[in-house]
Structure formats: C-alpha cells, structure tokens
C-alpha cells in the first residue's frame, strides 16, 4: 500500500531535482544553457575533456565552481532533512533536530576551535581540519549526551533531550569564549556559524554522496520500527522492536549525517526542523514515506536557498541566515495555524 506511494513519488521528485540542479547551474554571472550543463556534467563525471562547442571559461566555471557547490547544497539539504526526520521520530518530539541534542553546537565548537587555534599561530590547514574538528565535535557531543542519558537504562527521549540541552548550553558558553579569544577576527567564526556552501569542492561531494545514500537507506530500513516507536517504548517493545538498539543505531547514523553536512557547510538551521515537520503536515507521519521525502524536501529547499544567495541576490547572504529568515516566519504561521485547529499534538 505504502510502497506504491513511495515509488510513485520517487521518480517525479528525482526528475524535479535533476532539472533544478541543471537550472541552477545555468544561473549566475555567465549564462549557460541547460543542455550545455548536462554535457559538462557528463564530461566531468566520465573524466573526459570538455566539449569544444562550449566556451572553455564557462565550462570551467560550471564544472569546478557551480556544480560542486550546487550538488553540495542538494546533498547537505538531503542529509539535514533525513537526519531531522530521524531525530524527530526517535525523540518523539516534532520540534527535535540536531540542535536539541547539541550535535550542531558540538560541531560548531569544533570548527570555532580550529579558527581560534589558527589565530594563535597553530598551522592547521583550514580545508582539512575544520571538517575534521566539526565532525569530531558533533560525534563527541553525541557520546557525552548518550553517556549522560545512559543512567536511565531505557534511554528515554526525555533523558536524551535534557542531556542534549545541558551539553549544548555548556558548548554555547565555550563558543562565546572562543569568539572572545578570536577578538578582531571573530568574523571568521561568525561567518562559519552562519553557514555557507561557497567553499564546496568535488572532494566534499565524494564524501557527502555515499553518506547521504547509506544514511537514508538505513533510516528507510528501520522506518516501520520508527513508526511503532511513536506508540511508546512499552508498546513498541511488546511488538518486538528492540527500542534501545534502534535508538543507538539511528542516533549514531543521524549524528554522522548531521556532522558530515555541518563539516562541509557550517551551521544551516531550520532545514532539519522544518522539512520533516512540513512534510508530516502534508503526507502524514508514516516514516516509510516521510524519510525518503525528507531527503528531497531538504535538497530542494537548500538548492533554492543557495541559488538565491549565489545568483539572484545582489550580494551573497550566509545561507544559514537565509534558511532561518525564510523558514522561521513560515514556521510561526504553521504553528499558529495548528493551535487554531485545536491540535495539541503534531
């Protein structure tokens, strides 16, 4: 029944996404046609020389600047969308995302640390060490949160969220201190905290693409168990769902997905929160449908936001600011509407 629904959505959404990527690649200072974009992409993927019919400058711009950035937007958006859906389903909280568990804050702390260490003269190569530290910060935070919450043997969502909020509060203070240490160069940290895809490279794509694929497939694999989790631990366990293992596996996978996304793009808020939330509003809470759709929803949202800031707006706005400015008010409207409808639970 549901499988038809998923496959029914999959093809048109993939088509929309491919078309969106191509369209976005034509936009910018240098105009390129859509067929040329596909020709460049295929040449690049096969490692062949660029077609001679295309202006070599335009070919280089599209192949080495626009496409990696656009694909990074698609993959980061997808990773954030899926991990948000998973966090919400596991924590039984429609307002949960990587912030609630402190993971984004942990990743931000890792990245800020590199920037401050560089200011103090440590020769760390930014391109490699910021992603590594951001990733380590995110994963380390999850480890601390799990350790704090493990006193409660059943690893309940309340303990997890409480532990996440506590750790995030400490890390926020630590980031504040790093900003203070950075003194006049605080702008570097702030820019990273607001997120940007401007620095994305093909190497990032090679990292993000398998992560997005494996992570989404794992989440889809467990999607029926996730549905059952919504009826409470006791009921889920009595239906044969191993709730503790499910939480551990999916929290780890979703954290890895978030940390990887953050390590490439910096902090991009609201995607992981609003995409699953909105989709649940549109197609219902069934995770078998919701998780694949969250990938496409996140991808499209970030693709649009990044194209806006890259090619449409007169000057580049940090993408995290844009998603929050677009998503925030929208979220307020949705929230008020649901209150009026008398729905207490989402």
């Amino acid at each position: 029944m549901k499988r038809h629904a998923v496959t029914g959505w999959l093809l048109p959404l993939t088509a929309v996404l491919v078309f969106g990527v191509a369209l976005s690649a034509t936009l910018g200072f240098l105009a390129v046609s859509i067929p040329d974009v596909f020709a460049i992409l295929f040449a690049k993927l096969r490692g062949q020389a660029m077609p001679t019919t295309i202006d070599p400058v335009a070919a280089t711009v599209v192949a080495d600047v626009r496409l990696p950035r656009i694909l990074a937007a698609v993959l980061v958006g997808g990773l954030l969308g899926v991990s948000g859906a998973v966090f919400q389903a596991i924590l039984l909280n429609p307002l949960a995302d990587s912030y609630t568990l402190g993971i984004s804050t942990g990743a931000a702390f890792g990245a800020s640390l590199v920037i401050v260490l560089q200011i103090f003269g440590l020769a760390l190569p930014s391109g490699v060490s910021i992603p590594i530290f951001a990733f380590g910060g995110g994963v380390g935070t999850l480890a601390v949160v799990l350790f704090l919450a493990a006193g409660d043997r059943r690893l309940s969502s309340t303990s997890l969220i409480l532990a996440g909020v506590i750790v995030a509060a400490i890390l926020s203070a630590a980031i504040g201190f790093l900003k203070f240490l950075a003194d006049e160069q605080v702008g570097l940290i702030i820019f990273w905290l607001m997120g940007s895809l401007a620095g994305a490279s093909w190497a990032n794509i090679l990292l993000l693409a398998p992560a997005a694929l494996l992570g989404t497939l794992t989440a889809v694999f467990y999607s029926r168990d996730l549905n059952i989790m919504a009826t409470g631990d006791r009921a889920a366990t009595s239906l044969g769902v191993n709730t503790v293992r499910l939480r551990l596996v999916l929290l780890t996978v979703a954290t890895l997905m978030t940390a990887l996304a953050v390590s490439v793009s910096g902090i991009i808020g609201f995607v992981g929160l609003i995409v699953p939330h909105l989709l649940r509003h549109l197609v219902g809470p069934d995770n078998r449908l919701l998780i694949p759709l969250a990938f496409f929803g996140g991808s499209l949202l970030l693709l649009i936001a990044d194209t806006l800031t890259r090619a449409v707006l007169p000057s580049e706005v940090p993408i995290g600011v844009l998603t929050a400015l677009l998503g925030g008010p929208f979220f307020c409207v949705l929230f008020k509407k649901r209150q009026r409808d008398g729905a207490t639970a989402f």
Binding site: M1, R3, L92, T231, A235, V241, R280, G284
Partner: protein, 270 residues
C-alpha cells in the same frame, strides 16, 4: 505464524520462582513464586503500587528480574527471541499514547509488525484482519481519524484493536478498561472473553474493579507491596478476609444470580 503452543489443558504457561525486581534499589516485587496455566482467564489484583503492572511487564519479557527465574513455555523467558515473543504475546498498555498523528488504521496495522517481513506490504488477508479488529472494537468509523484527536476511551479501543490484529496466543491487559465507560468496558471484556472461550486466546489481566474481575476472571492473584498474598480460583479467593488483608477495607462478597458470579459490596467506613 507462531508455532503451535502446547494445546494441553492446564499446561503451565509461565512459571515464576523466587522472582525479585526493583527500580534503582526500590524493591517492587519480592520473592514472587507462581504458575500461570492455560485454560483460565487470570486476573492480577492489588492496591496502587503493589507491583501489578511490573508483574505484567515481567511476564511479557519487557523487564528482566534481578533474581529468580521465569520459565515460559518450558524455556527461560529471556531465551526466547523477542520477535517470537511478540508473535505470541500482545500487551494492551494502560495509557496508550501516540505521539504523531497516525491514522487509527495505521496504528492497528502496526499489530502485524511481528508477522510481516520488513519490507512486506500487508496482503488482502492482513487487510481483512485489520478490518475485523476495527469492527470488533467498534472503531470502524474512526479508521481514518488521526489517533491524536481521539478521546482516552477511543484510544484504548485502538490499543485493543491493535493487540487483536497481532493475533496473539496470549493477551496481557494492563487495566485496559479503566478509561472506558461501563458500556465499552463490558463490550471489550465480552469480546476478549469470547476469544478466550472460542479461540483459546489466553488472558492475563491487571484489573482494578473487583466486580468486573469477578465477572471476567477464572483465577485471581492478589498482590500487596510486591508480594503475592493469595491466588486461586475466583470463587475461593474473592473473600471478605482477603479483600481486608489486601486493600484494608471492609467488604461483603455474595454470589449474585444476576451476574452469575460473586460480587463485592463496599460501604463507607463508619
């Protein structure tokens, strides 16, 4: 489908020996030794906090005793794979809370989980089973409503419908009818009793209402402060002396020709 269980009447289903259980050093059950046998509806009774729900959790394999043994179907309960237990045992929890707006039908469909392969789609037979469970609990009209918008009593009937869709050999009820009005309570108890009598579905029910328990259960287990006070056939153990010992209240117990069972009357302390 589940493997056929021993069909022999009176076969021992659960056998508990010297079971102790507690949460963080607070003992909840102390030295519980009992046997639950096939062929009777068993009621677990006792005051609030006497460990009834915990005992049910132990029977369902949701908790493991700190000491003592639980043997289920001739094998230690913990040795059975969880998925296998889920095919045999269904639990109707006390407060059935669903956090997202799944439709009633979707929630009842979850009962098929232990029987379905991970990516299987419910077959026509499965759909018929869901329809049957919805009809039996009188919630067909609610099938497409989000479960978050239902009243407590309606939610409770969804929980029962899901347990029925699970096609269990044994049904564990945790005060499953406490939230329901008398009409729906009787309807659900009748439905379950019918399954017990005609399809040999075994039933263990934690109950609060002594009179409903007397109507519904063939055997009773009385718990007080985590210990078994007495157990036996309803006619033998439902006595003023036992009620006084367990609940500390004065009661009169009489056979009632209208209900065809023993019924308990109380009065306000003088």
């Amino acid at each position: 489908m589940a493997q056929p269980l021993s069909e022999q009447d009176n076969a021992i289903l659960w056998s508990l020996t010297g079971v102790n259980f507690g949460y963080n050093d607070t003992p909840v059950l102390r030295d519980v030794t009992l046997e639950l046998r096939r062929g009777c509806c068993t009621g677990i009774l006792g005051p609030n906090g006497s460990g009834k729900t915990t005992l049910l959790d132990l029977l369902a394999g949701l908790q493991t005793p700190q000491s003592g043994t639980i043997v289920f179907q001739g094998k230690p309960l913990s040795a059975w794979p969880k998925k296998q237990l889920a095919r045999w045992l269904a639990l109707v929890p006390q407060d059935f809370m669903v956090r997202f707006g799944f439709s009633v039908r979707e929630v009842v469909e979850m009962g098929l989980h232990p029987h379905l392969h991970r990516f299987a789609t419910p077959s026509a037979t499965d759909q018929a089973l869901i329809d049957q469970a919805l009809a039996a609990t009188g919630i067909v009209a609610l099938a497409d409503r989000p479960v978050t918008r239902l009243s407590g009593g309606e939610k409770q009937r969804v929980a029962v419908a899901r347990a029925l869709a699970q096609q269990p050999e044994m049904l564990l009820l945790d005060e499953a009818t406490s939230n329901l009005d008398i009409h729906h309570s009787l309807e659900i108890l009748h439905l379950i009793r019918h399954r017990f009598e005609h399809q040999a579905m075994q039933v263990v029910a934690v109950m609060h209402d002594l009179n409903l328990a007397a109507l519904f259960c063939d055997r009773l287990i009385f718990l007080k402060q985590g210990q078994v006070v007495c157990q036996g056939p309803t006619e033998e153990v439902l006595t003023p002396a036992n009620i006084e010992a367990v609940y500390g209240v004065e009661a009169e117990v009489r056979p009632n020709p209208f209900t065809n069972s023993r019924q308990v009357s109380f009065r306000l302390p003088a």
